[in-house]
Amino acid sequence: MYLTKEEEKILQGEQGEVPERMLRLLVQLGDIYGADKMIPVGSVQVAGVSYKSIADPGTEFLEDLSRKGAKVKVLTFLNPAGMDLENWETLKFPKEFAKNQLRIMNAFKSMGIVITATCTPYLAGNLPRFREHIAWSESSAISFSNSVIGARTNREGGPSALAAAILGKTPNYGFHLWENRQPTIRVNIETDLTFDADFGALGYHVGKQVKNKIPYFTGIKNADTDQLKSLGAAMAASGAVALYHIEELTPEADLVKKDNLETITVTKKELDEAYAKLNTGKEPDIVILGCPHASLREISAVAEKLKGKKLRKPVWVCTSRMMKEAAERMGYSDIIEKAGGYIVADTCMVVSPIEDMGYKTTGVNSGKAGNYLPGFCKQNVCFANLHKLLEAAL
């Protein structure tokens, strides 16, 4: 890989230990994947924030960087933490967990990273443009920015995204190059998709089928950004899909080559099977919405459903601090809280320690959450659309 004089100097340690170590990691990755040079990135999204996910070794890694004076060069946002950073006591997050989580947040803050804690940076103030090079490492946000916005990012690991933030650069390979953004499989949809959960179930099924291929969807008549975020998140969790195209809906669909592709078809039968596979539980103890983090539109739909009602079971709506702020202003928070639910910011059901909070069965409308909860959170899952889930909790 070609390195500039300045980059050579960084590798010789002229800017200190941290930039040297970080650039070394990126150059190693660049050499493996055939990058020709380093390119500047417009923004970074760093994953690996919850104490539950990265545990002591990850926490110590970050604190070490922070102690050594690591600073980011570009706008850098953070993935969800393991708890609501403001209301963790009210929501009964364990004290010891909170202490460790705050250590992590302090380490990130000292590096100049914006303490956003959301998996939807594009809804919270970090919005790339079409064809902008970025280095993001939240699998659902990677999928959204690559596919729906047409920005360009590889699937960065937590540490490689952090390295890109500290240097303001990433190696030029993979999805940064147009030739690697071409679809490798056609997915023909022959069923109606109505609810957000349908897109989650579809994504769960397709991700398992196509693994790390680039799907080109046909037959999806319409989808809003909430549904696309749900689709992409599920495909990135059950598979490793970082980029997809949808005929007439996503910005690169018209531009890519789509001749002679292997084709798979999804009918109502496959969608029903995906619902059945995702359902491992009977009655939820808790309903958790907002995976990926809920948009204002999703929060208002919950508020409308809960207006003037009383919940029998807890309902959490996970979102970013920014959306929560808007929900409060619009009175949605008030409605949801009066019904007995919570708007939980900064975290989600996957990265928070719900298994230690007494919950055994969780109701979700997210294919991504349905994929992770059984293994990582020891939860049975009830997977259904928003309306059914809330009716079951009332």
Partner: protein, 129 residues
């Protein structure tokens, strides 16, 4: 002897633990014990500690890199990793953790329980018959 591509250098010998399905380290493997916890995964309940872990490619969350690093720090990491195609999440993890890893290997030639010599310094894999 099979020749592949070096992802992270080093030479190790060990028993192969083979998965035909991709592995998602985050949510798939317990960082403290090394046990595979993903429900329905072919390796569910097996421990990756000290094994030569063989699987086609990574999947799922980008936090997987930290899980690989954490497995190493907790002393329960695999000795080495062999892939058909190593993607960036696994590559970042093994480089950071210093776990020998190579890819571009026809993993169908390796059976569960085989003794394998993984030499990532010259990108070769040898299966002892």
């Amino acid at each position: 002897m099979m020749k592949g591509r070096t992802i992270s250098p080093g030479k190790v010998k060990g028993i192969a633990l083979v998965s035909k399905e991709p592995i998602g380290f985050y949510g798939g493997i317990n960082i403290k014990t090394g046990i595979v916890i993903e429900k329905g995964h072919p390796l569910e309940g097996k421990n990756v500690k000290d094994k030569i872990l063989v699987f086609p490619c990574g999947k799922g969350s980008t936090v997987g890199s930290y899980v690989i690093y954490g497995l190493q720090k907790n002393g329960v990491a695999p000795k080495g990793i062999i892939n058909k195609e190593t993607e960036t999440i696994v590559a970042t993890g093994v480089i950071l953790a210093g776990i020998p890893c190579i890819d571009k290997i026809d993993i169908d030639q390796i059976n569960d329980g085989d003794t394998v010599v993984l030499n990532a310094d010259n990108a070769t894999v040898e299966v002892a018959k």
